[in-house]
Symmetry: C2
Subunit: 259 residues, 2 copies
């Protein structure tokens, strides 16, 4: 039977590592060691959370019940194999990496995936962040679930395929919606109008989409198949040809969907 | 000198007409007549706001200080020319139609453009909705400004070119971000996970973008130029080829932007 997790070591010093360290420390977990490819980043993070930076990946094992790999997706396997033999649990935090990336290196392993956009220094209400767990055994599952529930009210189990679908969905809902905002700012830049005139629209669109089915909330020229307005907009975008191509593709996708 | 506006007639019964009628009535304006291509829609709207539906566009003039054309963009010129001689002010509410669409029909005219996503039956806090005004004269400008300020705290002047840029920006910030949410729902549909797991991400992304520069908030595989994850996601999207094409275009645009 897996004992509860109280001592946690962390590999990585990026956005997810930063937010997890913060949330874990607030909940009273001891962050035993922090390792990062860039030692001074690990030291900075360790100083903030009463922890110790370490030089060797294998040092993460010392005193830890759990090692969290919050490193770049492509580094997960390499960092995992550098840990060495370890009795506790090892998890990664990646949406699009299979649990099997850890299978050859450990007995007890899993995935601990928080679905949110994290930026260092921007506080996040961790209790609202959904966590998705996958585990190598029921014992590991029980230990990870207890840990996740101490951080968040929203804990789910998801296998590697479900988590991949979730990550693709999150790219559209988060990364790509943010890029729409970026384009809107660039377009408005030429107008002399302040950027914040778009804020009520951005917030209301997000609010509506989270209170019902976004497909039913669609408005705008493409939804109405208003080709005259679409052509006017493409003329305006002639000076930003890469966005004109994107505008046209999106207008066509939307028009076809509501035909 | 233009007198203040107290009596307002409305052409149209769509989303904007519905929300303007509601906001104007709440502020104590009298809605004298409502006309719509579909008479029963006009009657339904008129019944809700102590007004009268009319059969002829020209009847909108009766007793009105202002006629608001909240009709489809392509109908504006035709409806305007059917009004006939009118001493008051006539405005349209369209982002991408020039003020000149009204020039041949009236002495006093303008544009009264509210920037928000409106759906019938979904309440909107009108005081937070930015209004953009354009006027045929200083007198008209003064009257429209007084009206707009009685509805909203955010009133701007914008000429037809500025308003067009604004509308293009709004298509990206509102319509197209909503379409990103729609795609994310479709992708997640196949996973068996509940749709609301995406809501914190959607809301937090919007919140961050409205508290700083969205370009600096960009995260995700394309931002990191993580081609391994991008290729995995394109495999997952093989069953939704139209979204795979869009995913790839957006990934390329983002990768190039942050190179």
């Amino acid at each position: 039977m897996q004992k509860s997790i109280t001592k946690i070591a962390l590999a990585g010093s990026g956005n997810i590592a930063w937010h997890l360290a913060n949330a874990l420390k607030l909940q009273g977990y001891q962050i035993t060691r922090i390792w990062s490819r860039n030692f001074s980043n690990a030291r900075a993070l360790a100083e903030s959370y009463d922890s110790k930076a370490c030089n060797y990946i294998s040092d993460l094992r010392e005193n830890a019940d759990l090692i969290i790999l919050a490193v770049a997706d492509k580094a997960i396997k390499e960092v995992a194999s550098a840990i060495g033999e370890f009795d506790g649990i090892v998890v990664h935090t990646a949406g699009s990496v299979s649990i099997n990336a850890l299978k050859d290196s450990f007995q007890n392993y899993g995935v601990f995936y928080p679905l949110q956009t994290f930026s260092k220094g921007t506080p996040v209400n961790i209790r609202e962040v959904p966590f998705f767990l996958e585990s190598s055994s029921d014992d590991v599952n029980q230990a990870l679930k207890q840990l996740a529930l101490s951080l968040s009210a929203k804990v789910y189990e998801a296998d590697s395929h479900q988590r991949m679908l979730l990550h693709v969905a999150a790219v559209f809902a988060g990364n790509y919606s943010n890029f729409m905002y970026t384009i809107s700012h660039e377009v408005l830049n030429g107008s002399g109008l302040p950027q914040d005139v778009l804020h009520p629209l951005i917030l209301e669109t997000a609010r509506k989409a989270t209170s019902g089915d976004p497909m039913k909330m669609q408005t705008g020229p493409a939804r109405r198949n208003d080709t005259t307005t679409i052509e006017k907009h493409l003329e305006i975008l002639a000076s930003l040809p890469e966005y004109a191509e994107l505008y046209r593709l999106l207008a066509n996708l939307i028009s076809n969907k509501y035909k």
